[in-house]
């Protein structure tokens, strides 16, 4: 079965430090991978996606993610965290058979001033 895992419920990082939010996946075939962010009392906002091509994908708000096929990972990164980055982050993979998105359990990012 297709699945996606976010092993960390919460990540704390100091403002100005680099941040990483982890995501691993299990899917047959070539994966379509996505990252979303959810601020309090808001819907999900699309950050970036990997479908094909360069393994390093750049997205909104200075975020990027690296697709690693051998490790089946798609970690979200940012070189310098901002307090305003504090939010709930979701990784998702598209099921190649049903075309439905499978969401991870979410990782709460807290950036400390």
């Amino acid at each position: 079965a297709q699945s996606v895992a976010q092993p960390e419920d919460q990540v704390n990082v100091a403002e100005g430090n680099p941040l990483t939010v982890k995501c691993t996946y299990s899917v047959s075939g070539n994966p379509y991978l996505f990252w979303y962010v959810q601020y309090p009392n808001r819907g999900l906002q699309f950050l970036l996606k990997y479908i094909t091509g360069d393994n390093l994908v750049k997205g909104s708000y200075g975020f990027e993610a690296e697709f690693n096929k051998s490790q089946t990972s798609f970690h979200l990164k940012k070189p310098s965290a901002l307090v305003s980055d504090s939010a709930l982050y979701f990784c998702a993979v598209r099921d190649p058979k049903t075309y439905k998105y499978i969401f991870g359990t979410g990782t709460r990012l807290k950036v400390l001033a």
Binding site: G43, L44, F90, G106
Partner: protein
């Protein structure tokens, strides 16, 4: 991209009543979805709203409880029927654009509290 709006943004309802949530997309989209999310939790897909035909429901969700309409390519409604406190949740509308675009966009959500 697609900009999605939902109405109402929040509501407090009495048990046994029904609430209809509206979802409007600013452009024609191929697929529309309804999700449920407990605050701070992951998303659970309720159903895929099919234009001009009955919605496709996920396991654990039935049409009698969550009737869905999609009369055209930009609009859908979800009704939460005969509500109980267990229905208190955030309901999210989502849409996927066509033309090979795989990105799925989300509305701001409807926060429902059932007393």
């Amino acid at each position: 991209s697609a900009v999605i709006s939902q109405k109402p943004s929040r509501d407090i309802c009495q048990r046994g009543t029904s609430l209809t949530i509206q979802c409007q997309v600013d452009s024609q989209v191929t697929m529309m979805f309804w999700y449920r999310q407990q605050p701070g939790q992951s998303l659970t897909l309720i159903a895929t709203a099919n234009q001009g035909s009955e919605a496709t429901y996920e396991s654990g969700f039935v049409i009698d409880k969550f009737p869905i309409s999609r009369p055209n390519l930009t609009f859908s409604t979800l009704t939460v029927s005969n509500m109980s406190p267990e229905d208190s949740s955030i309901y999210l509308c989502s849409a996927r654009t066509g033309g090979g675009g795989e990105t799925q966009y989300f509305g701001p959500g409807t926060r429902l509290l059932v007393l």
